[in-house]
Every structure is written in structure tokens, then in C-alpha cells.
């Protein structure tokens, strides 16, 4: 008791300094939806790096995939003195009460990667429509005419339609001009690779193998499609994907996939941190460099946004992912065969 008293007294001056310090440094509260997915750790490291560089304080909470927990996480982050919030929403609708609370306190909110369709929330993400455009463009480059197949993502995920919309933007003129014929067009429930494989097998059967290119919306499904193509002796048919999965990059190196559209999570994390710091400093959203208005969400709400450009990783551009440290060269180039891509030479 006695000793504790002296200890408190001794520390008193230090605690008295806290409020002054808190005013000096910006506190950025980040609410993650779940750390179960490896990729968010990459995002976190990048975001944190920028904050530390600029002397801001990083607070975080992991909602463990629960939208209820995320609401209380956000409340806690506000209570702990966040000047700005970055939210990776588990459920973009369920999070709205917490966002309303932050807005009432005058705390700016950045919606990270997943769209939160509430006016005043700043949206930082990759341009998913551009992902589709890149996929279509790269496939079109190697196969300018012929019989095309679309393998789309889950019908319940709005991203599926963003991506497919981009694909169609590029291919619509070719389809209308009769240079491209669409001979298969399917959603894949849950983006499941093995279902994509069965779907591709059936499309190949229905067309007696007369398929010239497959525009596939992500790498996992592209794996299933590649297996189906191989079984039909059509390996090497132009095929797209996204995510920069190691398995897909290896296919790209071996000439079994045309392109994997890669979203550099580190760029996204860095950009979100910069936006958060600007907003915390009182910069109006429209004054943030590169900001535009995004209104293509399911409800068409207009929000200020920065959409980053994804990267097209083709056989000739595999250096990008190796140089970024995303995949070790040894993993990429193992057993690559007689005609290695530039990154493996």
C-alpha cells in the first residue's frame, strides 16, 4: 500500500504529460474484419509503416468475422481517442450504426477495400471494373477473335458483376462486330474452383472443344478451368484470372494462363494511411489528391473515393511480382521448362 502510493506519486508527472502527447500525435483506429486471411496482414504492415513514419499512433481491432463484434470494436476505437477510423467492413450494411456514431463525433471514416455505402465515408479500394477490363484486354490481345467463354464469380458477390462489367466493356464491340462469339457464360457459386472445373468441362463438352479463350474472373477458378482444359488436351488456351495467387503465377510462367490481375495490397495499405492522415488533419475529402466520386455501388450512393489501378501480370511482366517480394523467384521458376519467361532467365 505504502509502496504503491509512492509509485503513483513518482509516476504522476509522466501521466500528467499524456494529454499533451495525445494532442500532438494523430491516432488512427483501424477495424479489421478478420485476420484469418493472410492478405490483410500484408495490408496492415504497409498501413502501419506509413503511420509510424509520420509519427501517428496505430490502434487496431480484429472483428474475427463477426459484424456484431465489429460494431463494438469501432465504439472502442472511438472511446480510445481515434482521430480517424479506417474500417474494413465485415458487412457493409450492418456496420452503419457504428459509422453513424463516428460521424456524430465528427470522426472521419475511411472504408477500406470493401465499399461502405454511406455518404461521407471515404472509399479506398482497387478498381474492380478495371480488373475485368484488364482481363479482357490481355485475353483479347492474344486471341482477337473466336469463341469465348465467361466464368464469372459468385452470383451473390457484387464484385462478380463489377469485374464482369469491365470485361464486357472491352469485349462488347468485338461481340457486336461478330469477331467474338460467346459460347459459355456462367456464374460460379462461392467462387469454388472444383465447381468452375465441372462447369468448364461441361462447356467444353457442349462445344466439342471448340473454345478459343476463357475469360475467368479469379485465379482460384482459373485453376479449375486450367485442369479442365488440360483434360481436354487444350492446355495453353488463353485464360485470365485475378489475385496473383502463387499457383496462378506459376501457371503464367508456364504459359498455362495468360494473365493474373494483381492488386498490390501494400499500395492499398499505404494509400489508406495517407488518406486517413489527411482527413485527420482536416483536409476536405475533395481536396485529397487523386480523389473522385464513386457511385457504382449496389445502391448508387455517391461517395468520395480513390480507386487504385490493379496490375496486369503477364508472362513478360512476372518481374513485377518477384521484385515486389510477392513470390520468390525460385517458387515461380521451379520446373518452368524449356522456354522460360523473362523473369526466370
Amino acid at each position: 500500500m505504502h509502496r504503491a502510493f509512492w509509485l503513483v506519486l513518482a509516476l504522476w508527472p509522466a501521466t500528467a504529460l499524456w494529454p499533451a502527447m495525445a494532442q500532438a500525435e494523430v491516432v488512427v483506429g483501424v477495424s479489421w474484419s478478420n485476420f484469418q486471411e493472410e492478405r490483410w496482414k500484408t495490408d496492415e504492415a504497409a498501413l502501419r509503416g506509413v503511420l509510424e513514419e509520420r509519427g501517428a499512433r496505430y490502434l487496431s481491432a480484429d472483428a474475427q468475422s463477426s459484424s456484431e463484434k465489429q460494431i463494438s470494436d469501432v465504439e472502442t476505437l472511438i472511446a480510445r481517442g481515434s482521430d480517424v477510423l479506417v474500417v474494413l467492413a465485415q458487412d457493409a450494411d450492418a456496420i452503419s450504426p457504428a459509422i453513424a456514431l463516428a460521424r456524430a463525433e465528427g470522426i472521419p471514416v475511411v472504408g477500406y477495400d470493401r465499399l461502405i455505402e454511406i455518404p461521407g465515408v471515404f472509399y479506398v479500394s482497387f478498381d474492380n471494373v478495371e480488373v475485368g477490363r484488364i482481363q479482357a484486354r490481355e485475353v483479347l490481345r492474344v486471341r482477337p477473335r473466336g469463341r469465348y467463354v465467361f466464368i464469372k464469380g459468385s452470383p451473390t458477390d457484387p464484385n462478380s458483376d463489377f469485374v464482369h462489367g469491365g470485361q464486357l466493356e472491352v469485349l462488347r464491340p468485338e461481340i457486336d462486330a461478330g469477331r467474338i462469339e460467346v459460347v459459355g457464360d456462367q456464374y460460379v457459386d462461392g467462387w469454388l474452383p472444383e465447381l468452375a472445373q465441372r462447369i468448364a468441362e461441361q462447356i467444353l463438352t457442349a462445344n466439342a472443344d471448340r473454345v478459343d479463350a476463357v475469360v475467368c474472373s479469379n485465379d482460384g477458378m482459373a485453376g479449375g478451368v486450367a485442369a479442365a482444359l488440360r483434360s481436354a488436351g487444350l492446355e495453353g488456351t488463353p485464360l485470365s484470372g485475378q489475385d496473383g495467387d502463387h499457383a496462378a503465377l506459376i501457371r503464367v510462367a508456364r504459359g498455362l494462363q495468360t494473365v493474373s490481375v494483381w492488386k498490390d495490397a501494400r499500395a492499398l495499405g499505404r494509400r489508406a494511411a495517407e488518406v486517413a492522415l489527411l482527413l485527420a488533419a482536416g483536409t476536405p475529402p475533395t481536396g485529397i489528391p487523386g480523389a473522385g466520386v464513386f457511385r457504382s455501388g449496389p445502391r448508387g450512393v455517391a461517395v468520395d473515393a480513390i480507386l487504385l489501378e490493379p496490375t496486369a501480370v503477364t508472362r513478360d511482366r512476372l518481374d513485377v511480382v518477384v521484385d515486389a517480394g510477392w513470390i520468390p523467384r525460385a517458387t515461380l521458376c521451379r520446373d518452368v521448362g524449356g522456354d522460360p519467361p523473362p523473369a526466370c532467365r
Partner: protein
């Protein structure tokens, strides 16, 4: 006709299912302009059905014992990730990796069986927990990354370009199977005579033999009619289908002809009576779950071999197809009654719908509706058939 059927001891439900399947096939074939029943598509169908089919054989045992296993889809994902990781990251050959994967499945099954049998937690709850745990574990194996490349030669188990046994081996195997069927039926006749039962009418046994031989011959002929790309060599019976047939024969034999199988039926039919009869209910229950886990792992080997990669989402929602196949096939959710043959037909029926409607270019929404409708119709036919002949 009913009298005749009874005399021939043919299972009217199985016949009904066969008729329903034939109707679906003919309908899909007409709608697809002859694509559906072409050898190439029947080969696809056989391989595509094998994953759910292998697991359905185990599910018949589980449901007959009046339990349920909701974890099989997730366990497929977890065991498959283990198989893929051993090959892609630890440098195992595919046979060792596959056996290790099956051991993982057996252990996982034993763990669940222990909770059900020795700790008295309902199978629904235990396997629901398993559904969550194994899906999470599948993720953790590689932090969600897709694992590739797998060992060279693993594709043999997948039914792709390397994954079938060729024409002559298929003919030889078909011949051996035909001989076995004839032998089994003739031996059955003699056993009946020896034990003083009335033998089946000779025409009934002749019909059985003829049906079985025709089915085997047709199957081998169709699989041989599908050629490899480029080289044009006959493919023959796909290896995953052989694994499926082996699982089916094994499960049917266990259920019908072993003491263990009798116990399973007894436990599911009347638990109290089984306990009073001195059956070691707990050990039998444990055994059922070990079998289920092993078969889920075998299915995972086929899935990874087919995909040529391990993805942590493999097997998502497969438990529903597996349970549906068993139930469509006449296995009673009330326990005590199971049919492996029915489950095999059930798996083929479900996959036929997906396969055929994809050929027609039907959207996923339409496919889901059709499969849902058929599920109810199939079970309704079963219920109606049993009401008309309660002893069947």
C-alpha cells in the same frame, strides 16, 4: 407385376430409382441434342459423380446408425490440403501423401466418433463443430494459399489425361467383374438350397445375371469409347470411378454381410434393443465415423488430383450433396435402413442434373431450383413406394 418382383427379390425402390434416372437421362439427352448420352459426357459424369459418390457410401453407414455427419465437406477440404501440402511443400510422393491424407481423415473421424460415442454429444452438434473446425484448419494448412504443383503422377487418381486404365485393362476388369457376379449368384442359389430356403425362380436369377452383365458391358464400352485428346487412344475406366466402385462394394459388403454392419443397422433401428442385446454400441459408432472420415479423405484425394492443386475452399457445401445422395437413395434419416446401391444412384442422379443442365447452359439459379425440386420428388417417390409395400 408386384408378385413377380417379390418372387425375384428385386428391390422395388432401386428399380424405381433406376427408372427415374433413365427418364432424367433420356430427357436431358433429347434436350441437349444427343450430347448428354455421348461417351465423352458419360465419362465426365462418372468422374464428376465420384467425389460425392465416395462420401455417400460412408454417409449411408452414418445415417443408418441414426447419426449425421455435417463435417464431410470441410474434412474433404482439410484432408485435401494436407495431401497437397505434403506434396507441394514437404516433397512427398503422391502415394505416401495420399495414404497420409487418408490417415488424417480416419483420425478426424475417430475424434468425432469419440465425442459422439464416448461423450454422448449428439452427432449433429459434433459434426457441426467439425464443419467449422476443419474448414478453419484447411485454411491454416497454407494460410489460404492454393497449393501447387503437386507430385508428378498424382493426376492418375484424378481421371484426367493420365487418370484412366486404358481399353484392355478395362475389358479385363469388366470380364472379371462379370465372372464374379455370375459366381456370386450361383453360389447364392446353392447356399439357399443347402440351408433349406426356397430358391429363387431360375428366370429371376437369369434376369439378374443378364442385367448385371449388360450393365458392366455397357459401362466398359462407353468408357472405352471416349478417347484421349490428340492421340485418340481409348481412355477406359477412370481411376476415381474405380475408387468409387471399391468404396461402394466395401460399404455394401460391410453393411449386408458383416457383424459390424448388422450392428450398425440394429443400433439405428432400435438403440435400446441394441444395447440390451449386448452390442458394443460405442465401438460400433466410433467405427462408423472412422469409416466416414476415411472416405471423406479418399474423396479429397480425388478432388485434389482432379484439380491438380489444393484449395482451402474445396468441398464447401459438399455435405449437403452427400446427405442428399444417401437420402434420395432410400437411406432413412430415422436410422435402421440404408442402401449403398441407392446412394450410388442418388449421387449419379444429382450430378446428372448439374451436368446436363450445364450442357444446356442453364444458369446457377435454374440449376439450384431443379435440383431442389428433384430432391423432394425423389424422396416422395420413395416414401410412396414404401407405403404401398410396407415390407419392402
Amino acid at each position: 407385376l408386384n408378385e413377380r418382383l417379390r418372387a425375384a427379390e428385386l428391390d422395388p425402390r432401386l428399380l424405381g430409382m433406376g427408372a427415374a434416372l433413365a427418364l432424367v437421362w433420356i430427357g436431358l439427352d433429347l434436350a441437349s441434342g444427343g450430347l448428354f448420352l455421348a461417351p465423352r459426357n458419360l465419362y465426365n459424369l462418372a468422374v464428376q459423380s465420384s467425389v460425392v459418390g465416395v462420401m455417400a457410401c460412408g454417409m449411408v453407414l452414418v445415417i443408418t446408425a441414426r447419426h449425421i455427419d455435417l463435417s464431410v465437406g470441410s474434412l474433404l477440404g482439410f484432408a485435401g490440403m494436407c495431401v497437397a501440402s505434403l506434396q507441394a511443400e514437404a516433397g512427398f510422393g503422391w502415394p505416401a501423401a495420399s495414404l497420409a491424407g487418408i490417415a488424417v481423415g480416419a483420425l478426424a473421424g475417430a475424434l468425432q466418433g469419440w465425442w459422439v460415442a464416448y461423450r454422448g454429444v449428439p452427432a449433429f452438434v459434433v459434426s457441426l463443430a467439425g464443419l467449422l473446425v476443419y474448414r478453419g484448419a484447411a485454411y491454416l494448412v497454407s494460410d489460404g494459399r492454393t497449393l501447387t504443383p503437386l507430385a508428378p503422377g498424382f493426376g492418375v487418381l484424378g481421371g484426367g489425361v493420365q487418370g484412366s486404365i486404358g481399353a484392355s485393362a478395362s475389358v479385363a476388369l469388366g470380364g472379371a467383374a462379370a465372372a464374379a457376379v455370375v459366381f456370386a449368384i450361383l453360389r447364392g442359389r446353392r447356399a439357399r438350397a443347402r440351408n433349406g430356403f426356397e430358391p429363387r425362380p431360375p428366370w429371376a436369377d437369369a434376369l439378374r445375371i443378364a442385367t448385371a452383365l449388360a450393365a458392366i458391358a455397357a459401362f466398359v464400352a462407353v468408357m472405352n469409347a471416349h478417347a484421349q485428346p490428340k492421340s485418340g487412344v481409348s481412355r477406359g475406366i477412370p481411376v476415381p470411378v474405380l475408387l468409387w466402385i471399391a468404396s461402394g462394394l466395401g460399404a455394401a459388403l460391410v453393411l449386408r454381410a458383416t457383424r459390424f454392419g448388422r450392428y450398425v443397422t440394429a443400433i439405428g433401428g432400435n438403440l435400446d434393443a441394441a444395447i440390451r442385446a449386448g452390442i458394443e454400441v460405442r465401438r460400433v459408432t466410433l467405427g462408423v465415423f472412422v469409416a466416414m472420415g476415411s472416405l471423406a479423405a479418399l474423396a479429397s484425394v480425388v478432388t485434389t488430383a482432379r484439380l491438380g492443386a489444393g484449395a482451402s475452399s474445396m468441398g464447401t457445401l459438399a455435405e449437403l450433396s452427400v446427405i442428399a445422395a444417401a437420402v434420395i437413395g432410400g437411406t432413412s434419416l430415422g436410422g435402421g435402413r440404408g442402401s449403398v446401391g441407392g446412394a450410388v444412384l442418388g449421387a449419379v442422379l444429382m450430378q446428372s442434373l448439374e451436368n446436363g443442365m450445364l450442357l444446356l447452359g442453364a444458369s446457377s439459379a435454374i440449376r439450384q431450383i431443379a435440383i431442389g425440386v428433384v430432391l423432394v420428388l425423389a424422396v416422395w417417390v420413395d416414401v410412396a413406394a414404401r407405403r404401398r409395400s410396407p415390407d419392402a
